[in-house]
């Protein structure tokens, strides 16, 4: 069975930041919510409590960077761009400060509703010049996020998973890469964040039903590996389905649409995710189903996409097990 890792960000940040005294941990009154409370207690000299004042936090971080420090900002993703958007641009993005913005509660991964759900963060962040945009999709990616984010010469926004996080991958996240999780020829399925786990629940059932799926996992939205996607896009027969824990406008689906149109490819694209709607508070299982980006909706969408019934029922999914996903290159090398 799939391994569930407890609070991977907590030990990852602690191990990484404690080795570099120039790193400062900033928190906007969400220290335990962002799993940096142990770090605060063990390394108080590297912790800066910023309170509930995000506008100041962004510009203050800019100032810290101007005096030689590397701020890692911790708060919920929404609070890093909605209220302090102006400060994000003027104090962080424009001057390319080496500031690492750790945005928790991506998309609908919180029952706290609209005010807490970052559903347009990727859309916003990827249009900001100089910004690097990453999303973690499993424990292994969370474990590599601090080192990878800090390797960037400029500001970085990261969507972080917290709490109990499944381990899907056995190789670290590498900025600019795209993971090939399964090869196939009929359909290109591209997923990101928590949607990859959902897609994995559906995938084996789909393959059993005779659909050949090329499955990709995207963690780096910017800089995006256009070349690799283009190569893979060209060879699928039926088209592309994207599934993201985000608005379908501006995020992963849009990114793929941009590439399809830029290169004049004739590929059908179906985008699953929040379809021009806000969400409300609820569990991840309930919300992904309600808004149409859970495993079963994926199957029903594929039926529509290819125009033929697959005769898969929801209970078939319960039997589908998710194994750790080994990188394809490793599997091929065996």
């Amino acid at each position: 069975m799939i391994e569930i890792v407890k609070k991977p960000y907590s030990y990852t940040f602690k191990n990484y930041a404690s080795k570099n005294e120039k790193i400062l941990c900033l928190s906007g009154d969400l220290t335990s919510s962002c799993e940096v409370d142990e770090f605060r207690d063990e390394f108080p000299n590297q912790f800066v409590s910023m309170g509930m004042a995000e506008q100041n936090m962004m510009s203050f971080a800019g100032g810290l960077s101007m005096s030689g420090y590397i701020p890692f900002i911790h708060t919920f993703g929404v609070f890093t761009y909605r209220r302090p958007y102006d400060q994000l641009l003027a104090s962080i993005a424009y001057p390319r400060r080496k500031i690492r913005i750790m945005g928790f509660l991506p998309g609908i991964t919180t029952p706290a509703g609209m005010t807490h759900q970052a559903i347009e963060d990727i859309s916003v962040m990827r249009t900001i010049p100089n910004m690097t945009v990453i999303e973690t999709g499993d424990a292994t990616e969370v474990e590599s996020i601090c080192e990878q984010a800090n390797s960037v010469d400029g500001p970085v926004y990261c969507r972080i998973l917290r709490g109990s996080v499944p381990r899907l991958f056995d190789t670290p996240l590498k900025i600019g890469d795209i993971r090939v999780l399964n090869s196939g020829t009929d359909l290109l399925l591209i997923t990101s964040g928590i949607c990859t786990e959902e897609a994995l629940r559906a995938r084996s059932v789909l393959i059993d039903a005779g659909i050949s799926i090329l499955h990709l996992h995207v963690h780096t939205f910017k800089p995006f590996n256009e070349e690799k996607i283009l190569d893979l896009l060209t060879n699928v027969k039926l088209g592309v389905i994207t599934m993201e824990n985000h608005l379908v406008n501006g995020g992963l689906g849009t990114l793929i649409a941009e590439i399809i149109s830029k290169h004049g490819l004739s590929k059908k694209l179906m985008k699953l995710g929040l379809n021009d709607t806000f969400a409300h508070g609820g569990s991840k299982q309930y919300l992904t189903k309600y808004y149409g980006f859970d495993a079963y909706t994926l199957i029903k969408s594929i039926e529509k996409f290819i125009g033929q019934p697959l005769n898969i029922e929801e209970k078939d999914l319960e039997k589908a097990r998710i194994e750790n996903v080994h990188s394809l290159s490793k599997a091929e090398a065996l």
């Binding site: 004042a53 506008q55 100032g63 810290l64 420090y69 102006d86 400029g154």
Partner: protein
């Protein structure tokens, strides 16, 4: 760094230079020179402990915004000297005072007068609203309110580094309407940033007119003191008062000097435009000519040829 000229003389020269520019270009942020000339003269001539400019005296043209591919990128901070442990860092917050800042740099010998010919010209770094790459600037303060937070961040970092130098912000009172200023004060007080200080040009003006008519913010000194900072109010045209204010002990507290000023100080003839003083553009050739004659007289110069 002590200049040969007295700060009072530099202030007069700043007013003259900004006025000359205003007449020649049919408009400028003129009242800002009236209100802030003494503060900027005093800062650059006496108060700030900064090194010589490390930038070319005639500014280089705009060389692109920061990007991964722009290795040439530089801010205009080098006009305020190099960054070092012992020197002060200076943040110029009200970016629309840029013309006054450039005039000051010229009068204290950090920029060539020819630099001002590039003002607001396409492709120039001497921009009308000070950008990061404009002389004397280190960040985009065109969005008012981010200066104090940034300086607080710098001051916090410098405390950690155990640096000797202070961090100073020149501000304007209009930006006190922004909530971020008060967030910055909270944090600076909480972290006892006594290596941080600011001087605020309290000219009681904003774009729409007098602050009392647009959005009166009441007793600012009382508010800042209530926030826990050390706040001193002075006559912003009295350089001796500035000297005294800077000497006020403020252990474990940031120091905020409120410099109460007049937006037509030294150019009384401007008063007739009150309260529309944010940007002075002449309504007619007649007005321009009249102002030229009257204000030149006040400044002790011949009318400007244009």
């Amino acid at each position: 760094m002590q200049n040969k000229l007295k700060s009072e003389e530099i202030a007069l020269r700043i007013r003259r230079r900004v006025f000359e520019h205003c007449i020649k270009n049919n408009g400028a942020y003129l009242s800002q020179a009236c209100s802030s000339a003494e503060q900027l003269a005093w800062l650059y001539n006496e108060a700030l402990n900064i090194g010589d400019s490390i930038m070319p005296s005639i500014p280089e043209n705009f060389s692109g915004v920061p990007s991964i591919n722009n290795k040439q990128y530089k801010t205009g901070a080098g006009y305020n000297g190099p960054v070092s442990n012992e020197f002060d860092r200076f943040i110029f917050a009200p970016a629309h005072y840029a013309l006054v800042a450039y005039a000051t740099l010229i009068e204290v010998g950090r920029m060539d007068p020819a630099g001002l010919l590039m003002f607001n010209k396409d492709g120039s770094s001497v921009e009308i609203i000070g950008a990061e790459h404009s002389p004397g600037m280190e960040m985009h303060n065109g969005t008012l309110g981010i200066g104090l937070s940034t300086a607080a961040g710098i001051a916090y970092g410098r405390k950690l580094n155990k640096e000797k130098g202070e961090t100073c912000v020149f501000m304007s009172d209009g930006e006190l309407q922004e909530g971020q200023i008060w967030e910055a004060l909270q944090v600076s007080v909480y972290y006892k940033l006594d290596n941080l200080w600011a001087i605020v040009d309290v000219n009681e003006q904003q774009v729409d007119g007098a602050m009392s008519d647009v959005l009166d913010i009441g007793d600012v000194r009382k508010k800042i003191n209530a926030f826990g900072a050390k706040c001193i109010e002075i006559d912003g045209h009295d350089i001796d008062a500035m000297r005294q204010a800077k000497k006020e002990p403020h252990k474990d507290q940031p120091l905020i000097i409120l410099a109460r000023t007049c937006p037509y100080k030294g150019m009384d003839y401007l008063k007739q435009r009150f309260p529309r003083l944010h940007y002075v553009r002449f309504k007619s050739e007649e007005e321009r000519n009249k102002m030229n004659i009257e204000i030149s007289k006040e400044l002790g110069i011949e009318p400007i040829e244009y």
